[in-house]
């Protein structure tokens, strides 16, 4: 990507924003955000991520996108993931384990049913959406 002028930056921002919004509104796309800060990694986030990739394949789910993000700060619930998909509320799950992954996939992704007990709350509203 080339160096940008002020105009370029603004156009680029609109482009990526539109693209990310499209992903958010894409009824066929499941996004999984995996908290990959030091605390998440120490608690086993890489294993959960690997299990998610493997289990999605096993369940024939192809329309899933895994994204690494920083830490939400919920150390007591690490490793933490967030699932964003159509017809379900954005849901944060933790503490995650590889063993819990099939449940999350079968219930949340396929049956559109929350997996109780592991649902955590977003610690604060998003100030960027004010």
């Amino acid at each position: 990507m080339a160096r940008k002028s002020r105009e370029d930056l603004r156009l680029h921002r609109e482009r990526v924003r539109t693209k990310l919004k499209e992903d958010d509104n894409n009824a066929d796309l499941i996004q999984v955000l995996v908290g990959m800060g030091t605390s998440g990694i120490a608690a086993g986030a890489p294993g959960v991520k690997a299990a998610l990739i493997e289990q999605c394949k096993l369940h024939g789910i192809e329309n899933v996108r895994l994204r690494q993000v920083g830490s939400l700060g919920l150390d007591f619930a690490e490793p933490v993931i967030e699932i964003r998909m159509a017809n379900m509320p954005d849901t944060i799950y933790g503490p995650m384990t590889a063993e819990l992954v099939p449940d999350i996939i079968e219930k949340h992704m396929l049956d559109r049913e929350l997996v109780g007990r592991y649902v955590q709350h977003r610690p604060a509203p998003d100030m960027m959406e004010d």
Partner: protein, 607 residues
């Protein structure tokens, strides 16, 4: 938010969240959950409403909590008996049960935010706005969330004076410990730079306080916010080079910073002719070896220059003479992360959050005996009670609260009597603690104040650079005395000795490390003198932590002479015949506790 993508074609058209965090569970949320489930089933709406138990909402004092989705109605103080009404009216008739609804009027002024939705929460995230939201290794995700918009605005629409004015309006103060107004620092730096012809900006990410990791998390989760902020500062004061001083023990943060810097350079957001504005600036990473004192700004400067990281007397302050003798603005990583928001939203927007003299938010690393440990970001002015009992989910295992340690090795404790003090720079200082970097360790009844204080002094002894005698010798002496307290060998005049040395070390040390190393002692002596005294006068540790002060004995009433303890004792110091009272030889007992665990009759007493 994704709720906008939520439509009613899903198998469930509604979700009912019932908090089953520890706090709510103690208030019968389990019964509530069962009642709601039954009510839902009895009314035949189980196919469209899913009732789930969830983790803590961060509102435990108002628990049990129920939240309905997709409406996002929050109900508080819900009793098991309220289930029928809630289900009938909210879920069946789609009415709001106003009696139980959380009302926004409960919010206090320091929480004021424009849009009400979701703002029942205690946390406000400015510094951590992107953490957990964006991929820190993808610059586009940062840009999409207004990233580099502040730089754009600063470079093309604002003069350096206007930027400083905006900072002044914001009331932002440094988050690295001392709480120095950021605008003032930049203004000094700018004036000195004009005379010197060049200047530097530095990000302090040394984060040596043993209980703190907010800078690490910020840099790992949102590295571009710090790069953007430093570039804005460089433009403001006239610097062309910046340094990020980060401890080598933070490999992930370093890697993500490096990736971020490369991406920013590729985009022309760092380096020559930024955004074709004619302004050039670049950043280098300098790795610290992990010495606490290197976080002190003059030591940090020496370390950047490749010298030994030892402090120098101030003045001159870094804003006059910093890196390579040139004017230098040093800010803490968390301070930097606030800057883009201040520029984009304006100083006035920022200043609405917080207290009179402490604006914005503070990130705390909440650890110790609370249920929800982790990073929390709350508006200045939030009380300790809210942090511990709401955000923190209350005390672990229902233990009694004793104190909170803030400010790490430079800070002190806040006690139960001050749980309702709004936390800001000035109030913490008044209580004899300090904001410090934001470590917040919650202590319970079973934590020994003397032992905790000893831990911090041991840290200071190890981290003292040894340059000046008051600190080098003073910290060692104070540690030795505290050690005697915990071993039961303290002398009657030791309390007095401790105070005299603490006072001298505070006054005569060269840098902040020595000057503040006695703080944990002075603060705990103020609030917990009785606990120190118990260690000398009664030779007991009230919290039951200091092993050497514990005495194990066997209760004659309870012991049935089963001999189990005698066989389990590793040093064979328990005597007694079968079916007769057993006795512990105090001289030989090593206080391992094996007998306590072994006795099925609770006959072994600890005092």
């Amino acid at each position: 938010m994704g709720y906008s993508r939520y439509d009613l074609e899903s198998p469930y058209s509604q979700f009912c969240y019932v908090c089953s965090g520890v706090g709510c569970e103690q208030k019968k949320s389990e019964d509530l959950y069962r009642n709601i489930k039954n009510e839902v089933r009895n009314r035949g709406i189980g196919a469209s409403v899913q009732v789930v138990r969830t983790g803590c909402f961060g509102l435990c004092e108002k628990g049990p909590i129920v939240k309905m989705l997709p409406e996002e109605t929050v109900y508080i103080d819900v009793k098991p008996e309220d289930a029928a009404e809630l289900v009938e009216r909210h879920l069946v008739k789609s009415e709001i049960v106003t009696r139980l609804q959380l009302k926004d009027t409960a919010r206090r002024p320091h929480l004021e935010v424009k849009n009400d939705r979701g703002h029942y929460q205690k946390q406000v995230r400015i510094v951590l706005r992107n953490c957990g939201k964006i991929d820190p290794e993808n610059i586009d995700e940062y840009i999409a969330r207004e990233g580099y918009g502040a730089l754009d605005k600063a470079l093309f629409e604002m003069t350096p004076e206007q930027i400083i004015e905006e900072l002044k309006l914001s009331g932002l103060r440094g988050r690295g410990g001392a709480g120095w107004p950021t605008w003032l620092k930049w203004n000094f730096g700018r004036k000195a730079a004009a005379a010197a012809g060049t200047a530097y900006v530095v990000c302090n990410a040394d984060e040596g306080d043993p209980g703190a990791y907010m800078d690490r998390s910020t840099l790992e989760g949102d590295p571009h916010s710090v790069l953007e902020a430093m570039t804005i500062a460089a433009y403001t004061i006239g610097a062309t080079q910046g340094y990020i001083y980060i401890r080598a023990e933070y490999p992930l943060a370093i890697k993500r910073l490096e990736t971020a810097m490369k991406q920013a350079r590729d985009y022309g957001l760092l380096g020559e002719n930024i955004l074709e504005s004619g302004f050039s600036f670049d950043i280098e990473i300098r790795l610290g070896a992990g010495a606490f004192v290197c976080g002190e700004e003059t030591a940090l400067i020496a370390s950047i220059e490749g010298e030994r990281g030892t402090p120098k007397p101030r003045p001159p302050f870094p804003t006059d003479s910093g890196v390579w003798g040139m004017p230098t603005v040093i800010n803490n990583a968390e301070t930097w992360a606030n800057i883009p928001v201040v520029i984009l939203r304006g100083g006035k927007w920022f200043a609405r959050i917080g207290t009179e003299n402490s604006k914005g938010t503070k990130v705390f690393a909440l650890t110790g005996k609370v249920n929800n440990t982790g990073l929390v970001e709350v508006p200045m002015g939030t009380t300790l009670r809210e942090i511990i009992y709401d955000v923190g989910g209350g005390m672990q295992e229902g233990k009694a609260f004793k104190a909170v340690q803030t400010g790490g090795p430079s800070g002190g404790v806040i006690t139960a009597g001050h749980l309702d003090t709004p936390i800001d720079f000035d109030n913490l200082a008044k209580l004899g603690s300090m904001m410090g970097s934001g470590g917040m360790i919650v202590l319970a009844e079973d934590d020994c104040i003397v032992d905790v204080t000893k831990f911090y002094l041991e840290f200071s002894v190890e981290e003292s650079c040894g340059k000046c005698a008051p600190c080098r010798i003073g910290t060692r002496k104070m540690f030795n005395i505290l050690d005697r307290f915990t071993k039961g060998t303290a002398r009657p005049d030791d309390l007095w000795n401790l105070e005299v040395i603490a006072d001298a070390t505070k006054k005569a040390s060269l840098c902040g490390l020595g000057q503040s190393a006695p703080n944990p002692i002075l603060s705990t002596l103020q609030y917990f003198r009785h606990e120190y005294l118990a260690h000398i006068d009664d030779e007991t540790c009230p919290a039951g932590v200091c092993k050497d002060l514990m005495k194990y004995s066997i209760d004659a009433e309870k012991c049935i002479g089963c001999t189990v303890c005698a066989r389990k004792c590793p040093v064979a110091c328990i005597d007694g015949k079968s079916k007769e009272l057993h006795v512990i030889d105090q001289e030989r007992c090593i206080k391992c506790g094996a007998c306590v665990a072994a006795c099925k009759f609770d006959a072994v007493l600890i005092a």
